[in-house]
Amino acid sequence: MSLLGLDAVEKSFPLLLHGALVTIEVTAMALVLGALAGLLGGLARVSPLMPLRGLAAAYVSVIRGTPFIVQLFFVYYAFPQVGLQVPPMVAAVGCLAVYSGAYQTEIVRGAIESIERGQVEAARSLGLSTAQAMRYVVLPQAFLRMLPPLGNEFVALTKNSALVSLVTVQELLLSAQLIISATFQNFAVYLTIGVMYYVITSVVSTGTQLLERRLKVYV
């Protein structure tokens, strides 16, 4: 057993567990903020107002066109140079949310655009305003179509959260690395956190699938 270093894992398990909690915390906050960014971004993408559409398109294009790690380092290391100190946790959650929000923007836009034109026309013919048609007719239907790709995006976000270890947020990966530097048990520790990540992503994807099944009553 000790050959694989499982005893090292056992002893430092509280530290790993704490790291996992930080991972969950970072991911959950980024998920909520990212979903908000995605909703606003998606609505902006389909807005009749050209400047809004352009702004949202630029956001998506820039964020998706640059590496996440560069965005994170830019905020964490470059902002202080112009007098803006960003605490590690804020940089981590903020960057993950902005990054995921860009992908969620496209998911929201795609789902909204997939709703048949006749739905909005029927709503408008009944006197609903553009905003009401969006709120009561398009978005509820679009939400169901968003869920599968959103589930994937949430899983991707969870996995990307490992990268914030690079700005000293002591989440699961950084906790693991600290333990390894003291015990040299690469095999056992990486195996353990691999399992832990897998459990977390499984909960996230199962959760969205359950939600989808519950909301699907009308299809």
Binding site: R124, L126, G127, L128, S129, Y136, P140, L144, Y218
Partner: protein
């Protein structure tokens, strides 16, 4: 001069034009519908019938010309289009029911959100209308569990829920299996009996003949014939109408 109450137009289009890009679909249409009148609009596919109907409730913005409704010009920037639309019910070829809402919620949505009628009152009205179209038992069903004919009857109830002054129908039976056409036409016949003002784009010549007070024939974006059914069918005004009628069983 027509009598103010009976003959006065409730809707009137004057010099109506509509282009999509370079393609002019309506090329100057003058049309008026009197209160209580049932107007059938027929014509070949692609001639602009749907566009004409959709210009009347401003689902399409006319490129030129005027639309008048209940004594006011409505294609004017100052007009509250949403208010106007509550006075005009529209029924679509493909029903366009809201699939995520139950049948009764389809009928209450606009009552509550647009007219701000209480839930209780909106439900009562919806139940009465669903009973009228023969679907009282389906109030808690979702649209996707209904047949095409049932869907269209719900769509009619949904449009009637706002107590519109006019009903616009765009080929309401064209997407239906033959055995379901009659149940929808029967519902429409009932509305005719009640004196509802209606404009109906249709290929159902039987319905046009028995229900319409007037038939207009649209061809290439223009109204080329406008006559009561007897005259329309027995002595067509134009060669285009004659050709069209020859191809359609009446």
């Amino acid at each position: 001069m027509m009598d103010e109450r009976n003959g006065a137009p409730i809707i009137e289009a004057r010099g109506l034009r509509k282009s999509f890009g370079p393609h002019e679909v309506l090329k100057g249409v003058d049309l008026s519908i009197a209160r209580g009148e049932v107007l059938a609009i027929i014509g070949p596919s692609g001639s602009g019938k749907s566009t004409l109907l959709r210009c009347l409730n401003l689902l399409e913005r006319p490129t030129a010309g005027e639309v008048w409704f209940e004594g006011a010009r409505i294609n004017d920037p100052g007009v509250d289009v949403n208010r106007v639309r509550t006075r005009m019910g529209m029924v679509f070829q493909l029903f366009n029911l809201f699939p995520h809402l139950t049948v009764i919620d389809n009928v209450t949505l606009a009552q509550e959100k647009v007219l701000h009628i209480s839930r209780q009152e909106a439900e009562a009205r919806a139940q009465a209308l669903l009973a009228k179209v023969g679907l009282a038992a389906k109030e808690h069903a979702y649209p996707n569990s209904l047949s095409g004919g049932q869907k269209q009857r719900v769509a009619i109830a949904r449009a009637l829920a706002l107590r519109p002054a006019v009903m616009l129908f765009d080929e309401p039976t064209s997407a239906l299996d033959p055995e379901m056409v009659q149940e929808v036409l029967a519902t429409m016949d009932e509305l005719v009996q009640e004196g509802m003002t209606m404009a109906v784009v249709t290929h159902e010549m039987g319905f046009a003949r028995r229900a319409a007070g007037r038939i207009v024939f649209v061809d290439e974006g223009r109204i080329v014939a406008d006559a009561p059914p007897e005259r329309f069918f027995s002595a067509p005004e134009s060669e285009r109408v004659r050709q069209f009628l020859e191809k359609i069983p009446t």
